[in-house]
């Protein structure tokens, strides 16, 4: 049997319930089981994570083409900044008699 090939695995971690999974870093491992063990050691052994996702780097589809992501022409009309919602929302609330919900950006 040939020696198993060691490959890169990307590790995502969640710090607490409700948080987004964030990229933590990577580990080298020959297979998914050991990759999970090593992710636990490198990104979880100090109780800093409540969940880990381990993804083979080769399974990640990469897009970094500047023509697709950073086109040179003015694209400001595709940004939502042109629509000022705050005043319209306030007027709508006034009309319906509701208050701005607490702790919510509205």
């Amino acid at each position: 049997m040939a020696e198993p090939e060691v490959q890169e695995w990307e590790v995502f971690r969640q710090e607490k319930e409700g948080d987004a999974m964030r990229h933590g870093g990577s580990v080298m491992a020959p297979d998914a089981e050991l990759a999970v063990h090593y992710a636990r050691e490198l990104y979880g052994r100090r109780q800093e994570s409540i969940r880990l996702w381990v993804v083979r780097r080769a399974d990640i589809h990469d897009l970094n083409d500047p023509d697709l992501l950073q086109p040179p022409l003015d694209r400001s009309f595709k940004k939502p900044g042109g629509y000022v919602m705050r005043d319209k929302l306030a007027a709508a609330r006034e009309q319906s008699g509701t208050h701005k919900p607490r702790g919510n950006a509205g």
Partner: protein, 261 residues
Amino acid sequence: MTNAAAELVPATRNALSLLLLAMADDEFVIGFSDSEWTGIAPMLEEDVAMSSLAQDELGHAQALYRLLAEVVDDGRDADAIAYDRPVEGYYHARLLDHPRGDWAASICRRYLYDTADAVRLEALADSSFAPLRELVAKIRREERYHEMHMTAWLDRLASAGGEPRERLLAALDRLAPDAATVLAPLPNELSLVMAGIIDATGDELDARWRAKIGRVFERLNLSMVLPVADPLTARTNHSDAFRWLHGEFTAVRSAQPGATW
């Protein structure tokens, strides 16, 4: 002395002390021995993993020595018990007297030890001695991962064929005569069973352990010829390899007795 320990009759307390000493020394010796891999394990990630496992064991040993110090109550603290004994005073299983050896030997030794330790801890899960029951509940949560990781490695070495499997088989041959020493019956252990401190004697634990690893050994086509350990020699006559390790782990403390770091 803890209230829980003061309530025990002397014979039971002595038997409990030996059980705690056996468990603590087992964890202490395998922890120190496996920490010899730090910096030279097969790959960086495994270096971190093996070192972390070894460190866990030293943490378990520390907690067990503390509990032992309370039960024995002779003025020694955990460090004094851990470090200030001569080679002959250590009570770990002979399985752990084997030198670290190559990677396959370390994996094989640790697999045999971790599976036996898991059986021992399970037998203490409902212990009537509350301080031990509470400690064991915490230790078991860490040992789950140890067993997972060791099983993953045993699988790979056994299934790889070629040199990995040859080295594993050679290691198993060397370790087999002492494999069962971890669960060999301890002196007066029946008093622990009667008091509900542990749920079975060593013979029964040995049978549970064989049933547990038997399935894995069968799947991996490994020999289950693991002789029953002689209780009189299971934890005595330590090896030259342990003599060397003892010199290593006592070096700093004996260089400056009483110093703190």
